[in-house]
């Protein structure tokens, strides 16, 4: 009875606290600008099925894809066992599904055990790739400190989950003369031969509690971790843009202004926009779209984008992964400041602090340098590489728009190009006619 009460209390507290944290992330994502999501719903579901559920993009690199698949499938299937743990925890029963299911129960748990062994292999391999083989993409500058520890903490938590599940199962098997017939723990239970029933029961309880406590810990760790991708990969692939990759979003305000200048008819001409107060592009979370922020929270920092970025490959400072991580960090920073309700972060100090009344004197440019955004060739390799359909390119281009249009700054070498485009209609200022080459035909 004590265990039941304890379980309900801990479960309630941990689910409740996690829910609050998830709501904060939802709030942070919605700090981004509204962007209507258009396009075929069927194609969106197709992306969720193939890319998120089916891991399609992971398989461009076989070894990590297979290892990741082990952990992923084990994670998904283990949720079945979690149902039983919950029912047992609340009702105080033990293996509530064993009597009615019998052989099928043995099959399901055995299946989970096999997947857990595969997940164990994968987890150890992942730890080795990060800490012993030290793969380059896990040791870029943006991975120093918390991101590196975060990755290892997740893997350690996974090891703990696997350990507790086998401790529980093999103690239970030893206690009940292997009657459950679990395929892996039948080989582990003999280790416990000769152990008294009381100790076995205690071990089984440690396994059971250990497992569920790590699950609760994991749940509450997700909101501060890159591991959040286990949830957000699904909405992120659903909301991924379906427009052609090569199409940058049109800016109707600029288009209409230029149409006016050129004397072209403007649709909805009645709506006069004051161009002086407009800010173009993005310099902060508020001017990115909510989808860009969702992208950032969906990132698991695998670095596939950075490992194919031509700028990064040739030693430039730009790393697409860093751009995405910076957006998340900035969104977190704003979220925390909003939570503090501290009026010093308000734009109008006489009003309450809020997303619409916020100015902490900082922006994304405090995280991302000009040098980084200037190095991008817009080659889309990062976009292609992302296993969960994040676009690191979109925010880079929005930052460029802000720099050029709102600040009138940017690389000075671009000025002659802009001037010549504006004055001569060509990227180079040429003294010859555009069709001069014809004479040589």
């Amino acid at each position: 009875m004590i265990q039941q009460v304890l379980f309900v209390l801990i479960a309630g507290a941990s689910l409740g606290y996690a829910a609050l944290q998830f709501l904060k992330i939802r709030r942070n994502i919605k700090l981004g600008k509204d962007e209507s999501i258009s396009g075929d719903t069927a194609e969106r579901w197709r992306n969720v099925l193939l890319v998120a559920l089916g891991q399609k993009k992971m398989f461009s690199r076989m070894i990590p894809a297979v290892l990741h698949l082990f952990i992923y499938v084990a994670f998904v299937i283990t949720q079945v066992e979690l149902i039983e743990i919950f029912v047992d925890g609340i009702t105080g029963q033990h293996r509530v599904f064993w009597p009615p299911l019998g052989g099928f129960y043995t099959f399901v748990i055995s299946f989970i055990e096999i997947l857990s062994v595969l997940a164990l292999v994968a987890t150890i391999a992942f730890l080795a790739r990060r800490n012993i083989l030290r793969l380059a993409r896990f040791h870029k500058p943006e991975m120093k400190g918390w991101p590196f520890k975060d990755a290892n903490y997740i893997l350690f938590l996974e090891l703990a989950l696997i350990f507790f599940i086998f401790l529980m199962n093999s103690a239970d098997m030893a206690r009940h003369q292997n009657e459950y017939g679990f395929v892996v723990s039948q080989f582990l239970s003999p280790i416990l031969d000769g152990t008294g029933d009381g100790t076995l029961h205690l071990l089984e309880r440690i396994g059971w509690w250990g497992h569920i406590l790590v699950v609760f810990a994991f749940l509450n760790y997700l909101p501060i971790s890159k591991h959040l991708h286990v949830i957000l990969a699904f909405p992120n692939t659903y909301f991924a843009r379906l427009q052609p990759r090569g199409e940058m979003d049109n800016m109707p305000e600029v288009m209409n202004e230029v149409k006016n200048m050129l004397g072209l008819p403007v649709e909805n001409a009645g709506a006069e926009v004051n161009m002086d107060n407009l800010e173009f592009g993005a310099n902060d979370i508020f001017s990115l779209s909510w989808k860009n922020v969702l992208d950032a929270y969906s990132c698991t920092e695998c670095g596939r984008c950075t490992s194919v970025c031509p700028a990064n490959l040739t030693g430039k400072k730009l790393s697409p992964r860093k751009i995405v991580m910076d957006i998340r960090d900035r969104a977190d920073e704003i979220g925390k400041k909003l939570d503090s309700k501290d009026v010093q972060y308000a734009k109008d100090k006489s009003q309450a602090l809020g997303a619409a009344n916020f100015d902490d004197g900082r922006s994304l440019f405090d995280y991302i340098s000009r040098e980084e955004i200037h190095a991008c060739t817009t080659c889309n390799a990062c976009v292609e590489a992302c296993p969960v359909l994040i676009s690191p390119l979109e925010p880079i281009l929005k930052l460029r728009r802000y720099e050029i249009l709102s600040l009138s700054e940017g690389p000075s070498e671009w000025l002659p190009m802009f001037n010549s485009m504006e004055n001569n209609g060509a990227v180079w200022a040429m003294s010859v006619e555009r069709e001069a080459w014809k004479s040589e035909l």
Binding site: P244, P411, E413
Partner: protein
């Protein structure tokens, strides 16, 4: 185009020459080669000549939407004024902007890249290749431009054009969806590199040279320049040639 319109004729297709194709000495050769091909197969085409302006691609990607809109809106007006329906271009940046970005500005055209038109002309027998052409048996490697390949998903048309040369196509490790940029896109062509260890075009040229090919085929005037510079930096310009697809075809096709 103006002349044709005055005579009341509508060409089968408009050839969008682009800034590089018009002004850059190297890219002009591609322009001429492509015109020769169209003439040889008897396909009536027009150019806008001095009425053509930069599509605005480098300005837009640099972040300068004003300059982009200024050029793009004028181009759309010109194209719509001539009732243009189909456009071919030898520049994947022009191709992308005309195809994907002009519709939002009221310009809706069927846009093909010259590699796609060449493929069609070869497949329908309008282009006939010589027996034992210039490049027969030679090792050729193909460099995917970002804006034709990864951005617009055109991988097979240029390869099928190359296949008609009877050459031996050797792929680089980073090809198709994984193709490595030449370093020119996103208006990088018009500025100095940011600080780094190496120029991107050198990285790519080394990879291309590593295949042992004697010809590097490209489909973009900027890739052409970048790859040529990279090959030169490795002092291989006498052994390895960098060509556009149109130049390879015009050399190996039956003319007249």
């Amino acid at each position: 185009m103006a002349e044709m319109a005055a005579e009341g004729r509508e060409p089968e297709i408009l050839f969008w020459v682009g800034c590089a194709g018009s002004f850059d000495a190297r890219a002009q050769k591609v322009t001429k080669a492509f015109c020769q091909i169209l003439d040889a197969v008897g396909m009536p085409f027009a150019i806008l000549g001095n009425e053509e302006m930069c599509t605005g691609d480098p300005a837009r990607r640099a972040g300068n939407e004003f300059v982009f809109q200024m050029l793009a809106l004028q181009n759309v007006q010109t194209l719509n004024g001539y009732n243009v329906k189909k456009i071919v271009t030898a520049c994947p940046h022009c191709f992308n902007t005309l195809k994907n970005e002009y519709p939002a500005l009221g310009g809706n055209y069927e846009v093909v890249h010259h590699s796609q038109l060449l493929q069609e002309l070869i497949n329908t027998g309008r282009i006939k290749m010589q027996e034992g052409g210039t490049f027969k048996g030679k090792k050729i490697t193909y460099h995917d431009s970002c804006y034709l390949g990864r951005v617009n998903g055109v991988y097979e048309a240029p390869r099928s054009v190359l296949a008609s040369l009877d050459a031996q196509l050797v792929e680089m490790k980073r090809c198709k969806t994984n193709g490595l940029c030449c370093g020119a896109g996103g208006a990088q062509m018009f500025k100095e590199d940011e600080p780094g260890d190496k120029r991107i075009n050198l990285e790519r040229a080394e990879e291309a040279l590593g295949t042992g090919a004697t010809v590097i085929a490209a489909n973009c005037p900027f890739c052409l320049t970048m790859m040529q510079d990279g090959v030169k930096a490795k002092d291989k310009q006498d052994d390895v040639m960098v060509y556009d697809l149109a130049e390879l075809i015009v050399d190996s096709m039956v003319k007249g």
